[in-house]
């Protein structure tokens, strides 16, 4: 796709494009279709951010954490020294079995790309860290790196999955990382960014991920301050200057650490309003009142449509009064989520079912066999 002149635009608030596709049989496919679909929503973005999450792309390293690292810095030299410093830290805490620069196409011209590297590693827990679970140990490593390291950011830290993102239109990012040639995944999510209140940098693009949970988000979280303050109590440091980060960490806290089912997590992030709770039966009234009392600060206020990616499943969710669009669709074993139906139709003209969920109602799609 030729890089066309960046359009002069006046601010269009209802933008950002999100897209997700999954093969429920676990059959893996490359990003060509997903790139075409997200490019179809080109007008929803402004070229200041694009990214993809891919599940099932590192079968040969499936038992290792795949860290994707961004080393920023004005000069190549400063990037290399940031990398050396990070590696010294990483090697103390992990056994790295393989590391390499993430391949990219030099012909795709993007704005000051950082040095982007990946490491396949397993935890080397010592001292009082030995009591931590591997996942917990990795989360602490990510938090420490992202809040302390000068120019090093871990932007992907899951097993057998990875995020690829940066400043540019999503189709450009896809070309840059050759996602249509080098990778095949059973599930992809994608995002075209239209930043509303933060300036653009490679680390600020979506998806945001922690371990294998990734989030692409269209909208604005006006409750960011409250959410962030609550999550910091649980050790999550919000350092990437974008409100989406709180959704990724809230999902990790509720789904992984507290093992709350997604149907309930949806009612924490996008709870029914009190008028609706008043009309419920006693059992439901008690549940939703308790959820509001315990998890009030994790209410995500403001318009949003998100796609959460995890090993083996995709979840679509909007705010409780559905101020951002999301469309779900199925065709045989393929499952789709998108900001607009047309993008789904572009890569799958015939659909078995296509629908739009109500506000706060999650659309959850899991692998048939959960064999991953």
């Amino acid at each position: 796709m030729p890089r066309n002149r960046r359009e002069l635009y006046n601010k269009e608030i209802c933008a950002c494009s999100i897209f997700g596709a999954m093969n429920r049989d676990g059959e893996r496919f490359n990003a060509a279709g997903v790139m075409k679909a997200i490019a179809n929503m080109h007008v929803r973005g402004n070229g200041l951010g694009g990214g993809f999450a891919a599940y099932g792309i590192y079968p040969q390293y499936r038992d290792y954490y795949a860290f994707h690292l961004m080393f920023n810095g004005k000069t190549l030299q400063s990037q290399i020294s940031a990398k050396a410093e990070f590696e010294q830290y990483l090697n103390q805490r992990f056994d790295v079995v393989h590391d390499e620069e993430i391949p990219h196409r030099p012909q795709t011209q993007l704005r000051d790309p950082p040095l982007i590297w990946r490491y396949f590693a397993s935890p080397k827990k010592m001292g009082e860290d030995a009591s931590l679970s591997d996942d917990e140990y990795v989360v602490r490593t990510v938090m420490q790196t992202n809040s302390r390291a000068e120019d090093a950011y871990i932007f992907s830290s899951g097993m057998n999955m990875g995020c690829f993102k940066g400043v540019g239109y999503p189709e450009e990012i896809g070309e840059y990382f050759m996602l249509d040639q080098l990778y095949s995944a059973y599930a992809w999510t994608a995002h075209g960014r239209f930043p509303t209140n933060t300036q653009a940098w490679w680390g600020g693009a979506h998806p945001f991920s922690l371990l294998d949970t990734s989030v692409v988000h269209n909208g604005e979280i006006s409750s960011y301050g409250t959410n962030r303050w609550y999550l910091e109590m649980y050790g999550y440091a919000c350092t990437l200057q974008t409100d989406t980060e709180v959704i990724a960490y809230a999902a990790d806290l509720l789904l992984r650490r507290q093992r709350i089912p997604m149907e309930i997590v949806a009612k924490i992030l996008a709870p029914p309003i009190w008028n609706a709770i008043d009309t419920m039966n006693e059992k439901e009234k008690k549940l939703f009142t308790t959820l509001r009392m315990v998890y009030g600060p994790l209410l995500m206020n403001g318009p949003f449509a998100i796609i959460i990616g995890q090993t083996g499943r995709l979840i679509g969710l909007t705010d409780r009064i559905r101020l951002r669009p999301i469309t779900a669709a199925t065709r045989g074993e393929m499952f789709y989520l998108s900001s607009e139906e047309a993008s789904i139709r572009l890569i799958s003209p015939e659909l078995d079912s296509v629908w739009t969920p109500s506000g706060g109602e999650p659309v959850i799609c899991e692998l048939n066999s959960r064999r991953v």
């Binding site: 179809n40 559905r322 669009p325 139906e341 047309a342 993008s343 139709r345 296509v354 109500s358």
Partner: protein
């Protein structure tokens, strides 16, 4: 000037080819951006073309929007595929038929004309609509008929075969909305008519008081309403022959009427 991928069809036997119109111009929208497609439509209108068929539509927005002309040209546009957001925004009296689903914002601030959607519509269907009629075979999304209005002879109407989601008729100021719920799924929308201060909503079937805002009264229909329903329901049936509906069948079931209690629902919020 007619572009390369447009072919003026030599007069064909319209019956045999499934209703292709005489002398229709065909546009292949595959790969066309929103602006190119709408430029093309405008050129065709100014060239006096009356019937256009657009194939492979996929996400292009504002189709039919830039077709205003002092000479009041009228076009019939057949769209195959999935048109993008704000289809026929500001429509100025043309007739559009969508063979497929439409997205959000169909008929945004539409002035006049007719839109027929052989599928579903997305959110804010008929947003700020001022005139004309939209027929949707299936359902539609949130905030249908948001701030639809009417003025003297300009009375817009939405006739929907399925049901709508929440905030139906929010801030509605005029016009007529009819939800037929042909599949009998029941009207499950909440916050119906929040801030409604004009116009009428007819629901075929029933609705609970808790689903409807206090600014709106739920009442049975009278003879005058029957006349309005008869007119629009038979119009709907004529637009979707393959549904094989019988007017009497559809009309015999009970309808409820939703109308605003006052012209100024939030007057107590303000000092004057």
């Amino acid at each position: 000037m007619i572009q390369d991928n447009e072919i003026s069809l030599i007069p064909t036997n319209t019956m045999a080819s499934g209703g292709l119109f005489l002398g229709a111009v065909e546009i292949n929208a595959d790969g066309l951006q929103t602006r190119d497609l709408n430029d093309r439509l405008r050129d065709l209108m100014l060239a006096g073309k009356r019937k256009v068929i657009i194939r492979n539509v996929c996400g292009q927005r504002y189709i039919g929007t830039r077709l205003y002309s002092p000479e009041r040209h009228r076009m019939e546009i057949d769209i195959f595929g999935t048109p993008g957001n704000d289809l026929a925004a500001f429509l100025f009296g043309h007739r559009l038929v969508v063979h497929g689903n439409a997205q959000d914002g169909v008929g945004n601030t539409m002035d006049d004309g007719e839109i027929v959607i052989e599928g579903r519509a997305g959110d804010v269907l008929g947003f700020s609509m001022r005139g004309g009629t939209i027929y949707v075979r299936d359902g539609c999304g949130y905030r249908t008929a948001l701030h639809m209005k009417e003025y003297e002879g300009k009375k817009p109407a939405l006739v929907i075969g399925g049901t709508a989601q929440d905030f139906l008729g929010e801030y509605m100021a005029g016009g007529t909305v009819i939800l037929l719920d042909l599949k009998g799924q029941g009207h499950r929308a909440n916050f119906i008519g929040s801030g409604m201060h004009g116009g009428t909503i007819y629901l075929r079937g029933s609705v609970n008081r808790s689903q409807v805002s206090e600014q709106v009264e739920i009442s049975p229909i009278d003879e005058a309403d029957r006349g309005i329903l008869d007119q629009y329901v038979s119009g709907f049936i004529e637009k979707f022959p393959d549904l094989e509906l019988i007017p009497e069948e559809v009309l015999k079931d009970g309808f409820v009427k939703l109308i605003p209690r006052s012209k100024r629902p939030y007057s107590d919020l303000y000092t004057y």
